[in-house]
Symmetry: C2
Subunit: 381 residues, 2 copies
Amino acid sequence: MGSSSNGINGLTEQLPSPARAAVVDKGVDFANYFCTYAFLYHQKEMLSDRVRMDAYCMSIFKNKHHFKDKTVLDVGTGSGILAIWCAQAGARKVYAVEATKMSEHARQLVKANNLQGIVEVIEGSIEDITLPEKVDVIISEWMGYFLLRESMLDSVICARDRWLKPTGMMYPSHARMWIAPIRSGLGNQRKNDYESSMIEWDNFVDDTHHHYGVNMRVLTDSYRKENEKYYLQTSLWSNLEPDQVVGIPAIVMELDCLTATVDDIRSLNANFSTSISMESAIVAGFAGWFDVHFRGSQSNPAQHEIELSTAPSRNNPTHWGQQVFLSNPSFIVKGGDKITGSFSMTRSVENHRLLNVEFSYHLQKSSGQLLNSTTSRFYID
Amino acid sequence: MGSSSNGINGLTEQLPSPARAAVVDKGVDFANYFCTYAFLYHQKEMLSDRVRMDAYCMSIFKNKHHFKDKTVLDVGTGSGILAIWCAQAGARKVYAVEATKMSEHARQLVKANNLQGIVEVIEGSIEDITLPEKVDVIISEWMGYFLLRESMLDSVICARDRWLKPTGMMYPSHARMWIAPIRSGLGNQRKNDYESSMIEWDNFVDDTHHHYGVNMRVLTDSYRKENEKYYLQTSLWSNLEPDQVVGIPAIVMELDCLTATVDDIRSLNANFSTSISMESAIVAGFAGWFDVHFRGSQSNPAQHEIELSTAPSRNNPTHWGQQVFLSNPSFIVKGGDKITGSFSMTRSVENHRLLNVEFSYHLQKSSGQLLNSTTSRFYID
C-alpha cells in the first residue's frame, strides 16, 4: 500500500503529503483488490488448500513455545483461522486485523470456538488501526501468485515497523522466488489462439468495411498489440507437473521478513543461470513460484522448521499454482545447455498490486556457442 | 453518474455539494466500469453485433434529413462508429465524446476515413467537457443489459440537458423494458449447483473441524446467503429462444429520451399482467429485455422509423441477450392462467451502475383461483 518505514521499531505516521509517493486511493483499491476477500467462497478456496493449511497449522502447533503466553498480530485475518490457531497454541492475546467485512465472520468464528477472551478482531487497514501494545509475533498469509502479486507484503512490513517488539518474530520468517525453464502445451495453445484472433480481426475489418462503409484497418496495429499482451505476454496460472520443469530451478529473490523493506520488493533485479536437466526438450517459457519458511528468529529459532513450497508438485499442488511466462518462439535445448540471463520485476503504474516482469536471456550450448539474446516483457495481471 | 437536471434546456452546473446525492468517485467508477471500454476487443464485440449495427446504421442513413448540415453529439463514442456514420450521412459537425483512451482510436479511425474535418473526438466525461455550441442531434448507444444496467442513460440525459437545442432530437428517441415468464433448463441447473455447493460446504466444515480443530459451522447461514445470492438471486445472461417465452410479454417501463429525467429511471415501479400463451409449461422464472426506437421528434419525425429489439429471437440475437430471473421453486402453468404482480428496480447502493430488482406476483388460474403470492429479490451484477 505504498507505506514507508521509519525503522523497524518506530511508529510510522501515515500523513498524506504530496511530496511522498502517491497514496493509493482506498476506494479504487477496494474495487480492484480487497472486495474479493469479503466473500466466504473465496476464503473457503484458501481454507481448502491443504498444503497451505498444513504448513501454517504445523508451523504454529510444532512451535508452541513461540506462542505460549505471547501476543500475536494476524495481518489480514480473513476468516480468522491463523488467529484461532495461535490462540489454541497458547497465545495470551491475538489481534486479528481484517480490512473487509469478513472481519464479522472472523468474530463469529472466534466466538463459536470460545476464544473471544483471547482473539480480538479489528476491522480496518493495518496502516490505520491502533493496537494497545506491541506484539511478540506477527503472523500473516500474505503471499500472492509468484509471491508478490497483490503487494500485500507492504502491509505486513508496515505492521512490523509499527507493532513488532524488538525481540519479536515473523511467521513466515523467510521467502524466496524461483524460476525455471519449462515445457508446456500452453505455448502452442496461446499462439494458436492469438493467430485465430488476428484472422478473426481481419475478417471483421473486411466485413465492417463491406457492410457498413467504415474502414477499421488503421486499428490493426493497436489490436495486435492488445492481443499480444493478452495472449502472449500476460502470465498464466497453471499447476505444472514436476516433469515439465526442464532446467535446474534458480532463486531470483530471497528475503528475510524481519528486515525486508518496501524498497527491496518494489523493484527486483537478479541474474540467473539454469542448466538443462533433460536430454532434450522444447522450452515453452519460464515458470515462477515461491516458497516461504517458518524458522522463527535467530535468537529464538523454531524447534521444527516448516517449509511451504509452491513448486510444481504432483501430490501437493496449491491454489497458487505457478505463473507461466511463455517464450515466443519456443526453442530446443539439450542436456548440458545453460540458459543464462536476468530477471526483473516492477509494479504496474496503473495498479500497484499488479506486476511487470522482464526476462533477458541467452542460450549457451554445451559446445560453448551462444545463441541470440532474447528480452521479453510480461504482465502479471 | 448521479447528475441532476435543471430542465431540458438549461445548463447544469456540476458543483459537488454535500447536500446533494453523493458524487461517484471517478477512480472507483473507472476501476468498476469504464476500464473495460478502453479495450479494442470489447469494442469489437459490440461492433460485431449485426442487429445493433444494422439498427443504428439504418436509423441514420434512412433519415439523412435529420443529419444533413446538422450538428451532432455522440455520447460515449467508443471506436467512433456512430460519429463516423453521422458524418457520412451529411452532418456539418460531429462532437464525439469518449471518457476512456479509446478516444485515441476513434481519432485514428476518423482520420483514416477522411472525416477529421467534420468529426471532433473529445476525451473526457460528458459531464465535464465543454462544447462550443449546442447540437441538433444527440446520438448514443447507451443501453446495458435489460436497458439500464450500467446507468449510462444518466450521462445521456446530462448531455441532453446541457447541449441539446430546444429543437433537437435524440437517437434513439424511445425505450421500453419488457418482461415475460419463461421456461428454461437454467432453473434446475442453478438449483443443482447451489445444492452441490452447500453439500461441499458441509464436507468442508467437517474436514476443517476434523483436520484442523476449528469449527466453522457457525458460518453456514452466511455461506448459504452468499450462495443463494450467487446461484439463485443473481440474474443470468442468456440468449433465449422465442419458444421459451410462455406468456404474453408485458411492458414495465417506457421512456421518451427527450423528456426522461434521472429520477424517472433511478427507481422503477410497474404493475404487470401476463397471460400464459402455451397449453402448459413449467415457469422457471422471468426474462427481461428492452427495445429502443428511432422516431425522431414530434416536430421533425423520422421518415423511416427503426426499431432495435433485444427480445428472444432465433435469427437476430444480440450481445445483450436477455436477463433471466429464476423462480424458486419453478411452477406449473396452463393456457388461460395469468401471472399478475408488480416489478420494481432500484440501484445498488454499493455501485450505482448495478441494479436490484424485485418481482412480486401471484398466479391466477383460469378457474379464478389465486395461488400464493411470491416476492423475490434479484441482483443484476
